[in-house]
Point group: C2
Chain length 188, copies 2
């Protein structure tokens, strides 16, 4: 049963680093020392694999949210969120939002639904965190928390693309500016 998890873990990494259409069942099988068809037993079609990868990521994010929400300071929660992306930037990985958004046309309706759920989960957490932070006077921003959540998510997602193209320092510039922008300053 560990095989399934190994496939999922490796599949997610290849999805993020290469793109969904740039890795094959052979790549997975080769790394796991089995035949390609063994992967088909666990994930009959490639769409099944995609679906499971996104599903797993939703669970991972849920666990992150539960753990992070214990922090009393919303600024710190946001920093944790940014830190998650920083690790991807270093490893030249995309987030699954960026990766699956790029290969979106390759997937069927089932995978699309799963991706939509993932996107709304992440955006809802951001929106709530931003809203609470502003209410508590720790975060400051213009407009609705929903719009701001979209801004934060898109900053993070695409800065992983830029980190690949121009280097990790570009990710750092974005994340620093982002946290600085959102941090409430004592009005003089």
């Amino acid at each position: 049963m560990a095989t399934r998890d190994l496939i999922l873990h490796l599949g997610q990494d290849l999805f993020r680093t290469r793109g969904f259409n740039a890795f094959s069942y052979y790549d997975l099988a080769d790394a796991l020392k089995v035949r390609p068809a063994a992967i088909h037993y666990h994930f009959p079609s490639k769409d099944d694999l995609a679906r499971a990868i996104i599903e797993q990521e939703r669970e991972t994010f849920h666990a992150f949210a539960v753990k992070t929400d214990r922090l009393p300071d919303q600024r710190q929660r946001l920093r944790r969120f940014v830190h998650m992306f920083a690790e991807h930037a270093e490893a030249h990985r995309l987030c699954l939002l960026g990766a699956s958004g790029a290969d979106y046309a390759s997937f069927g309706a089932g995978v699309h639904r799963e991706i939509q759920r993932m996107a709304t989960d992440i955006l809802a957490w951001l929106e709530r965190t931003l809203q609470e932070g502003r209410k508590a006077g720790r975060l400051a921003f213009e407009g609705t928390a929903h719009a701001r959540a979209l801004m934060v998510a898109t900053n993070m997602a695409a800065s992983l693309h830029l980190a690949r193209i121009l280097g990790t320092q570009e990710f750092k510039r974005v994340s620093q500016q982002l946290l600085s922008d959102l941090t409430a300053r004592p009005t003089p």
Copy 2:
């Protein structure tokens, strides 16, 4: 000689809508009513095609910059920039920054250099526009114009991913918030 341009135009569209690894020489040949090998005459390898697509986009952006820089108001220049992305959002296309960032690992060093040039071109234009706009008192933002250019570019790039996943209205929310954030308000 029109064939080459047709290939480039169609190739760019497929690159953006499907991803570079999700379209083939056959797709191009089929649409152009020729054999796949005819494409190889114009672009021997797929990397040659990628390079030419990015090169063409750099020229397109240069033409956009020259034309747009004639506008005296930097806010209007930014609106034109955003409008460019809005058209892609409607057509479920990504920008080439997002598309090539996702498929980055598939390309050789030559294509990487071309993508880097494209990225720096776009960011340099944004930086200059933001800088000038702030100096003129029409735009307002915290931090360096360089950091802000990164924020704007990443907002635009990834909102095209989100537009695919959750719908075009998400792109509109991002672009409205972005322009609102940057527009200088008369200090009361």
